[in-house]
Amino acid sequence: MPESRDDDDNDLLAGPVPAPDDEPSAAERAHAKAFAELVDKTLAGRTPPAMNTDDRALLEVATVIRAASGNVELAQPRRRVLIEDALRQAVGTRALGTSGTMNTMVTAIRGTNFRRWAPWSVAGASMLVAAAAVVLWLRAPHRASPAPIAAAPQLPENERMRPADALVGPIAREQAGDAASRIDAIFADRLDGYRELRFGRAP
């Protein structure tokens, strides 16, 4: 049991500081032994008893040094609680059951499986949709192409537009500027053809 401030051991802190080479006194040895036991028990996980402020400060320093060394292992219940908290933050509270670690683990595995099959499901759905589109396209009734209009019948030459060379013939030099007579001839000839085409050929 640690002593209170009223014990004799506390006089060590309140008394004069001994020289560095002085032999430790019996009181000092007893105080050191008691404090060592206190540290051991605290690091083992026991709740420390009430103690004076100086001892508590020393105990905290010892705890920090111990934790900083990296060899501290949390107790199993504490580890479980910490893992559950971390998983709850990662996957959300909705996915977590109330019964503890197994549900947490199962939920995490489910999430992993979903991520694994989601791309395959998308690819499969795409293939199904493509196949359905092809089937619909093949089954759609193809509209019959309209019947081609019959080729235009070949008209007699006098009913067609055509060069006027055959009608006019070579143009003599003295007639080079006489366009009026040639255009008259062209007009008369084409008018005959137009009348035949428009009003019917003579029997």
Binding site: L136, A164, A179
Partner: protein
């Protein structure tokens, strides 16, 4: 699941697009009773254009006989602005004949440069050889002769005069060559 839902929406839209009629299907179907019209048939548009050209050449002739060369030239220029059917060979023939008439009128006015431009324009726009193209070469020769005659008064222009007369001969030769070629073709076809 979000991706799957989006995919399904897109697929449904694509199927609807496949089944919906194309814009061309909205057009009324062609009439079964529609008769074929030969594209080279003499039509009203050609007859109207030919009629206008005929009247304009007669107007020009009357103006010329009255000594009103300017009005005659204006009347012939109107022929060049007439609208013929796009595929009618008569259009090129009539225009070339009008150009030959116009160039002769311009030569009579002493406007040799403009007359030569009219001829050059007709030769450039012609798509085929014809008696009307040959006639353009004939008028071209006449223009070149007229130039040579105008320059022959000055002995300093002798070389240029000789050159113009040779060019006139070449134009007449070209005209004769086309005439002969077409005449042979016509003879063979008869």
């Amino acid at each position: 699941m979000k991706h799957v839902a989006c995919l399904l929406v897109v697929a449904v839209a694509a199927c609807n697009a496949c089944n919906s009629p194309s814009p061309s299907e909205h057009a009324p179907p062609p009439r079964v009773t529609q008769t074929a019209e030969p594209s080279d048939a003499i039509d009203q548009k050609l007859m109207v254009a030919l009629s206008q050209a005929k009247n304009l050449t007669h107007k020009a002739r009357i103006y010329t006989s009255d000594g009103d060369a300017a009005s005659a030239i204006a009347a012939v220029r109107e022929i060049l602005a007439l609208h013929f059917p796009a595929n009618s060979p008569e259009a090129e023939d009539v225009r070339n004949d009008a150009r030959a008439m116009l160039a002769r009128l311009l030569v009579g006015q002493g406007n040799l440069d403009e007359a030569m431009n009219v001829i050059a324009e007709g030769l450039a726009q012609s798509q085929r050889e014809s008696f009307f193209v040959a006639n353009l070469y004939t008028v071209k020769g006449e223009i070149l002769e007229a130039r040579a005659t105008a320059l022959d008064t000055d002995p300093a222009n002798k070389a240029h005069v000789v050159e113009l007369r040779h060019a006139a001969i070449e134009a007449y030769d070209e005209s004769n060559k086309i005439d002969k070629k077409l005449q042979d073709q016509l003879t063979e076809s008869r």
